[in-house]
């Protein structure tokens, strides 16, 4: 009976706390919707750039009329066969420019050589034996010729995410297989492709996810620490006492920011060292670039935490709001799942999450060794987030003094 009284009391108190009640009801539904909408189970919108130099012609030897030239356009057929549900295909003219774009938002670049159709048809006949087909109204027999040098189709692939790289290759294989089927040959896909992985297959799944996981750990610890500390300061009355002293909300916020940024930086160093020493996570870039990303990221997180503390009446509420922020952070920031494979509506949320930019920047530095110049977009966004949240946290600090 006593237990029942305790249970009743706990439930009654929660029922009186509208925000906690709302979070209890909304959070599970929110997670399910998030999960269901984000992880659709198949990749989509993977950007592939195609340079089609194939002239579409195949010169073959026939038994009846000697050498004839057929217009078969096999590269075009291949491009048409690419699954548009998986790939976003972009055509380009300049092969070297296209090849340099791989890894910069482009998962694969395909360059079809001029004689692609000719090679495939002749090799198919050579591998599969003589065959007949219609030519200018007559049935002719194509005879196998001498082996030709196979000018391979170059496939440059971003293998930073091994799972996506596998999916891209599988998609390309399927499209090639469809085209080769029309040639009734035993020619294999592999014999036509010159696959060039950007990272030479050296990147493990752990390397790909580590920058995001480190960023997530920073988000978790920094936001939780800061939000709890500010809420405790407010509910304990010391925040009012601080803000009634001749100090501005700016000075107080800056003090908080410096303290928690220092803690975040210390933790980040710990995370990086442990990841690289214990698990040999790839780190080929500059520690200075990583430090800059971390500082901007930490300041932004601190600002967000202060804002959370404004809307939280107590530590329990702060904790729930933190969860409300953390789960989308890990699901929508591209740590595990490429942003482009998410539904457009979910991607809007991704762009509002600081971890998206921190993850992208850290990945660029750690996996690729990019310098500050290549991180400029992420750094500008992280700096903007830091400034805006810092400004809002000053306003929030001022407000908290009046609501304590």
């Amino acid at each position: 009976m006593t237990s029942l009284a305790v249970m009743k009391n706990v439930l009654r108190r929660i029922a009186r706390d509208i925000r906690t009640l709302a979070l209890i009801v909304i959070l599970p539904l929110f997670f399910v919707l998030l999960y269901g909408n984000t992880f659709s189970g198949s990749y989509s919108h993977l950007k592939v750039v195609v340079v089609n130099a194939d002239n579409g012609l195949a010169s073959v030897r026939t038994a009846e009329v000697g050498r004839v030239t057929l217009a078969v356009h096999l590269a075009s057929s291949f491009i048409d066969a690419l699954d548009r549900g998986t790939f976003t295909v972009v055509m380009a003219d300049d092969a070297s420019q296209a090849l340099s774009s791989v890894g910069k938002g482009v998962w694969a670049v395909l360059v079809f050589p001029k004689s692609f159709s000719n090679t495939v048809v002749n090799e198919a006949v050579r591998a599969g034996g003589a065959r007949s087909f219609k030519f200018e109204g007559n049935t002719v027999t194509v005879l196998p010729g001498d082996p030709v040098d196979v000018p391979l189709t170059t496939v440059a692939i971003d293998d930073s995410n091994p799972l996506v790289a596998q999916a891209v290759l599988a998609g390309l294989d399927a499209a090639f297989a469809k085209v080769l089927d029309t040639q009734q040959s035993s020619l294999t896909v592999k014999s036509l492709l010159d696959v060039r992985p950007l990272y030479e297959g050296k990147i493990k799944m752990l390397d790909f996810t580590a920058p995001g996981i480190i960023g997530f750990a920073m988000t978790l610890i920094t936001i939780m620490l800061t939000a709890m500390a500010v809420v405790r300061e407010r509910t304990g009355g010391t925040l009012t006492r601080i803000l009634i002293a001749p100090v501005s909300a700016w000075q107080v916020t800056l003090g908080y920011t410096m303290a928690f940024s220092l803690i975040a930086i210390f933790q980040a160093v710990e995370l990086f060292v442990a990841s690289t020493v214990l698990f040999h996570v790839r780190f080929v870039g500059s520690p200075v670039a990583v430090a800059l990303v971390i500082v901007l990221f930490a300041v932004g997180l601190q600002g967000i935490a202060t804002l959370i503390s404004t809307v939280s009446k107590n530590e329990a509420q702060a904790m729930q709001f933190v969860l409300f922020l953390l789960i989308p952070s890990i699901m929508l920031s591209g740590v595990f799942w490429p942003l482009e494979s998410m539904p457009a509506s979910m991607r809007l949320f991704s762009y509002a999450i600081p971890l998206t930019y921190a993850n992208s920047a850290l990945r660029k530095v750690m996996l690729t060794g990019y310098g500050l110049g290549e991180l400029s977009f992420e750094l500008v966004v992280l700096a903007a987030i830091a400034l805006v949240t810092l400004f809002l946290s000053v306003l929030s600090m001022r407000r908290q003094a009046y609501t304590a």
Binding site: G237, T240, R241, A245, P246
Partner: protein, 245 residues
Amino acid sequence: MAEEQVVRAEGLRKLFGKHAALDGLSLSVPQGQLYGLAGPNGAGKTTLIRTLCGLLRPDEGAAYLLGWRMPNTRVRSQLGYMPQDFAVYDDLSVMQNLEFFGELYGLRRTHVLGRANELLDLVQLNDRRRQRVGTLSGGMRRRVSLAISLLHKPRLAFLDEPTAGVDPMLRRSFWDYFSALAEQSVTLVVTTHLVEEAQRCHIVGFLMAGRLLTQGTPSDILVQTKTTNLDDAFIALQERDQVKS
């Protein structure tokens, strides 16, 4: 020259939902006065102090401290505020608390140490200066809070229930100290729900349901209510007020 009104409230009204915590309250406190704000729990004492300090915005009326309309940042360095809750860092020592707030008021370390000695003597915590505040009793923590409020020698101090939970001997020494501060031209507004304590003040304001029932010197109030002690005076005022309404 007219006497300077260090604290001035004009028609303050503060609503929490439909409940008026302050209901058109006006008062003024001249410089160097020890003003006792007495009243039962829920009378509006804390709300009044917070509104005067600029921590709550009134729905109607205005508050002026040291001539500035509140809230105003220029007043802060001259203002001492002791909230009703402890508002101290439990995880820091007594001295660390004083040092931190001293820094916020721009006091030099040597100055803080000197003031800390003086105030810790007053609140009888000099032997506990290195002890963590969280390990002190409630009454002791309140004493730390009082020391923090007076650390920077404010011209005007609002002390919300500074003697709650403090033993009678120490309470008496607090009131002696408040009187001594008032003699040095410091203006103090002190709340208490112990009406007899208000006897020690120069001016007493009786607060009830967000309204000031009366204010004056303790002797004037006794004459006005034809009573012999402030407890009886307060009951008489309450009864008169109930008859009126």
